[in-house]
Amino acid sequence: MIEIKFFPKVGVFAENKDIARDIRINELIPPLERGESLTLNFENVTNATQSFIHALISDLIRKFGIEVLDRVFFKSCSENVQKIIKIVVDYMQE
């Protein structure tokens, strides 16, 4: 299981979509293509924008199907970050 820690990359407020895109392309998609599982660790990230989370995970759901959520785990999310992730996961399934 690969773990990606966000705090060193984005600080307490995850809003930079360019960083989200780079993480998605370079660190999330390759292991998922190899069939591996991922842990996205949001420890110390207190908030995120919907745009950041969308840029991070929407394409994973589109590329690998909603079943990708059986292989991607969200760890140590604040209440706000959890809720933003749920919003994005919701509308990607509609």
């Binding site: 600080g11 407020f13 809003e15 930079n16 979509k17 360019d18 895109r21 998605r24 207190t46 908030n47 924008t49 919907q50 745009s51 969308h54 840029a55 929407s58 394409d59 589109r62 209440e79 706000n80 809720k83 933003i84 749920k86 919003i87 994005v88 919701d90 509308y91 990607m92 509609e94």
Partner: protein, 329 residues
């Protein structure tokens, strides 16, 4: 030195008062007919304006050579405020106003031009101490600034980036924010994927969650969901505050929700209590103004619950509208 006189220049008058509640009059008075020179006049007694007015003027000024900008010497007692906010610095002209070091303008973010993603990230970190915000108060403000400025980078095509400023108002205990760009405007962006006939129609489409100019696909593209403006309108609505978008010749303004009424979020901006104006002087890019009252203690996480519900309802409504029954003849 004699200032040049331009007979058919753009004209902006800084009025006695222009805040989101009464900004319509200011916008209607703005003459945008000749975009090569700018003439700024002002009320002689007192000028008190929302930061969005400053962002709009600065954004406009950046598109014009400083030698083609004429600003009448400001006489109003509040003139120092405009120097403090950096209006003349950004316009590249001298105001002749001397600011004494001990004159405080309070908690404010002066006019700032942001051109790229890295600058925005740094700016968001630095702005919180300038406004003396507690973490719980800072969350919605950081959110608004990030989403609005990124909209400018991604959709406006403006070579001048985003212009923004903000001010804390002690009397109303609120932060007022204004962000402007001199880009292509919302209609041109939305029209890449949606057939909006008018500027107002385009603004309203842009306010619907899941509608973006980058695609017609539900859920957006990998980089864009089309939900930023909806989130910001929702933050303003939950706080019972004003929010306005002005682009092209139209303006949509979310009006305050009375304290006696329960707040309900809608995906469709027509369902919100609002005013709309068409036939306004043409603004080439997009201008957004928002007020955030710090008295309202509604938690950001509770707001996210409401947004999730409204977003899901909005997507379902759109699906129902597209649903077709088989026709048996």
């Amino acid at each position: 030195m004699v200032n040049p006189v331009f007979l058919d220049d753009m004209k902006i008058h800084l009025p006695n008062s222009a805040f989101l509640g009464n900004i319509d009059t200011f916008i209607r008075s703005f003459d945008s007919s000749a975009p090569t020179s700018l003439n700024i006049t002002a009320n002689d007694k007192w000028i008190s304006v929302h930061p969005v007015v400053l962002s709009l003027i600065a954004s406009l000024g950046l598109t014009i050579k400083p030698e083609n900008i004429i600003c009448q010497p400001l006489m109003a007692k509040s003139r120092h405020y405009f120097e403090r906010m950096g209006l003349f610095r950004l316009l590249g002209i001298s105001s002749g106003i001397q600011v004494v070091a001990h004159e405080s303008a309070g908690r404010f973010i002066p006019l700032t031009q942001i051109n790229n993603s890295g600058q925005l990230t740094n700016f968001i970190t630095e702005m919180v101490p300038l406004l003396h915000l507690e973490p719980s108060q800072a969350d919605p403000i950081k959110y608004i600034v990030s989403e609005l400025v990124r909209n400018v980078f991604e959709h406006s095509g403006s070579k001048y980036g985003a212009i923004l400023c903000a001010q804390y108002y002690a009397k109303s205990n609120s932060i007022r924010i204004g962000i402007a760009d001199a880009g292509v405007g919302i209609k041109r962006t939305i029209n890449q994927s949606w057939p909006a006939k008018t500027d107002l129609e385009a603004i309203k489409l842009a306010l619907i969650p899941g509608i973006t100019g980058t695609t017609r696909k539900e859920g957006g593209t990998e980089q864009n969901a089309g939900a930023g403006l909806f989130f910001i309108k929702s933050i303003a609505k939950v706080n019972r505050d004003f929010f306005m978008v002005y682009s092209g010749n139209a303006m949509y303004k979310l009006l305050k929700t009375e304290s006696s009424k329960q707040v309900r979020l809608y995906a469709n901006p027509d369902k919100d209590k609002h005013s709309e104006n068409e036939g306004l002087p043409r603004w080439q890019g997009t201008v957004v103004g928002v007020d955030i009252n710090l008295d309202h203690k509604s938690e950001f996480s509770a707001l996210l619950d409401q947004i999730r519900k409204a977003y899901a309802e909005g997507v379902k409504e759109r699906k129902r509208a597209r649903y077709k029954e088989a026709k048996f003849i």
